[in-house]
Structures are given as structure tokens and as C-alpha cells.
Symmetry: C2
DNA sequence: AAATATATTAAACACTGTTCAAAAAAAGTT
DNA sequence: AACTTTTTTTGAACAGTGTTTAATATATTT
């Protein structure tokens, strides 16, 4: 029994080792520029071996995709300590922005790389969890008389779009050069302008 | 003289023929899934010949990239007939959304495909033209007492982020499934929620 | 020790972007 | 018309890609 357990453990560790190698290269070079052969040689394995642990390249990607979302969700939920819903709402946007800044490569992997073209099935679920969290906080704001007369779901979508838009422009480097300030500053200024808009509502 | 002119004409037409083939495949399959061999075989040419007319794959892409921006800019400028700046501002967002709907593949090519990683140099310029156009319309709104006390550039960036965010989610198919409505409806509802927010400003 | 199950590999297949020497076609010159 | 030069086109080659698979090595069980 302990032998088969050890075997299982070793299989899990191999799984991890591949994922570590893949994470490093994926985050560094992006989806297309990462090859199975690169991932394998990084851990001194043959390319074929990878396929013993993963169905294909896309499955490795999805694992990291989910990983990114788990990290992201944990940073969102860390804000639960903020008592006031509206303050929490505002902080949520900043979590988004900070995540895009500190984990640009993850952000790309999670939101901007398309690979299969189709929606991500599994990772899809955890993404939805993040959205429902945001929606819940907005509901709490509305319960306190904020954003009255505005549909909760549409407002959630709008908030999401705005923050994602800022982060997308940042991650694709479409922001620098447009104005004189740094991209990091611009993200915050853009978000603050949005906050200034809803401040009265 | 007329011979060399004809030669030149033929070279231009070959250029066009390659671009037509490339456009078809690029818009259908995206950047990575389009191969030089595909483009060539579509017009019954050898792969090597493509390189007589274009430096590399990326140059073909950039040509289409610029093409998309020209189309986009023309749709923006068609709104110049709207006299009221604020009405024009609102319509500009809808142009964005409609463009993403009607030319999803162009939108992907223009804003979401990254290929080189670096900012697009040439196509960059025409993108900036679109931004300055938006900024100008916002300035006209501010001249009429709208959006007072808000920095023009930051407000431009915010508007751009919001609309681009909506379109990005749409184009990457990250919108359907979240709520019960169709993606097309959601785009409009999201934008209308934003408009409802700034209506009072 | 033999048989079985598991894990790993190298080679192969059909692709990719790109280069380049050779061939073909067209144009210019005598 | 024949010869030369230039322009255009080609197909093979190179180094790379994801993936499959038959052969091999390792480890476990009998």
C-alpha cells in the first residue's frame, strides 16, 4: 500500500515538475512561443514523456490558467475584511489593476491568450466565481442605497469591462506613448476618473 | 515607359492578391493558425513567392492591421454629421461596439492579437489618431459644460477602456453564459449603464 | 527469477516560417 | 531573330513545431 502511495506521490511530483517548467516558460514567452520540447528539456525529459502526464499542450495551459484564477480570487477575497461594501467595491477594482501590474503574464494567460478559441470550460467556472463575488459586493452597496435604480448584473458587467479594459490596454502595452505619464499611473488615473463618476450615485 | 508601368501595376495586383488571400485566412483562423503555405496555395502560388512581395508574415499582418484601423476610423468620422458633441460622444461608443460585432475578426486582429509583442509602430499612429478624435469630441463636450472638473485625457482613457473592455469580453466570448441574455444585448446594456452614470455629469 | 505493469525514450509524421540556389519567364539589346 | 540581362517563380532545404507510437527500460508483483 505504501509503495503504490509512493508511486502516486511520484506521479504527482512529476506533474508538478512539468507544471513548474511550463509556468516559467509560458509566463516568459507566452503560449505560442512555448514548446513541449522546451518544457521537457528544462527538466531533462524527453518531449514524449510530457504526454504521459498531460493530454496535450492546451491541458498544461489550462492548469496554469486555473492557477492564475485561484491566485486572483484569493486576492479578491482578502478584501472581505473591509467592512464598508462601497469601500470594498472600490478596492476590488484596485486588486484587478494591481494583479495586472504584478502578474502581467498571468493576466495575459487568463484573459488575453485565446489558444483554443472556445471558452475555457473548467477555468470558466472559477472565472464566474470571481464575477459573482463582484456582483455580491455591488448588491451589498445597493442594499445600502448606492447605485439605486441600476440593474445589478449590468452594473457588474460595466465595472468588469472598465477594469478589464484598463488592464488589457496595459498588458498589451497600448497605453504608453498615448499620454506623457507612465502606464502604471495612467491605469490608476483612469480608474480614479471612473470612481469620481460614480461617487455621487 | 508603359511597359514598366504595366509591370508595376502587375506587382501591385499581386500584392493585392496575396493580401486578399491573407485577409480571408487571417480573419477566419487568426494569426497563428494562418500559414504562408496556406496563403500561397489559396492563390496557387509557391510559398517562396510570398517573400518576393512581403518581408515576412508579420508584414502581411500589419498591412491588414492598418486596413482595419482605416475602416474603423472612417466609421468614427462618419459621426461628424451629429451636431451635438455629447450625442456624438455617445454615438462613438456605439461605433466601437458595432465594429466589434460586425467585424469581430478585424477587432481581434487590431486590438487583441499580439504577435510581435512590441507596439505596432506604423499602425500605432492611426490608432493614436482615433484616440485623439475621441479626445477632441470629449473636449467639445467639456467646452459645453459637460464632464466639468475631469481631466480630458484621463476621461478619454477611461471611456476607451470601458468600451474596449466590453468589446474584448465580447470578442473573446467571455460574456455569454455569465448572464442569461445574448452577448450582443449585454454589450449594449453594459454601455447604457455607463451612459446612465455620466448622464448627470 | 519470471511475468507483468509502469514509465521513458527516440524516431517518425505532418506541419510551421524562412532562405536560397536554380529554373523559368519577361524585357532589353544587338 | 538571337543573345543577354533582369525580374519573377519555384522547390528543396533548414530548423523548428505538436503529437503519436513502437520499442525499450525500469519497477512492481507473482
Amino acid at each position: 500500500m505504501s509503495i503504490s502511495k509512493r508511486k502516486e506521490q511520484e506521479k504527482i511530483e512529476m506533474h508538478k515538475r512539468i507544471l513548474n517548467s511550463a509556468r516559467k516558460i509560458f509566463l516568459e514567452k507566452g503560449y505560442e512561443q512555448t514548446s513541449i520540447r522546451n518544457i521537457a528539456s528544462e527538466i531533462s525529459y524527453s518531449p514524449g514523456s510530457i504526454y504521459f502526464y498531460f493530454k496535450d499542450k492546451s491541458e498544461i495551459f489550462h492548469e496554469l490558467h486555473k492557477e492564475g484564477f485561484r491566485l486572483f480570487l484569493s486576492q479578491m477575497k482578502a478584501l472581505d475584511v473591509i467592512a464598508d461594501p462601497y469601500e470594498r467595491y472600490k478596492a476590488l477594482g484596485l486588486v484587478f489593476i494591481r494583479f495586472a501590474q504584478n502578474h502581467t503574464d498571468y493576466y495575459n494567460l487568463m484573459f488575453l491568450v485565446s489558444e483554443t478559441g472556445k471558452a475555457q470550460g473548467e477555468g470558466f467556472q472559477i472565472a464566474q466565481e470571481a464575477i459573482e463575488h463582484l456582483s455580491g459586493v455591488i448588491q451589498q452597496c445597493q442594499d445600502q442605497g448606492k447605485f439605486v435604480g441600476l440593474n445589478n448584473k449590468f452594473f457588474t458587467l460595466m465595472t468588469l469591462s472598465l477594469v478589464h479594459g484598463i488592464c488589457s490596454l496595459y498588458c498589451k502595452d497600448r497605453m504608453s506613448g498615448f499620454f506623457e505619464k507612465s502606464s502604471e499611473e495612467l491605469m490608476l488615473h483612469g480608474y480614479e476618473t471612473f470612481i469620481a463618476l460614480i461617487e455621487l450615485k
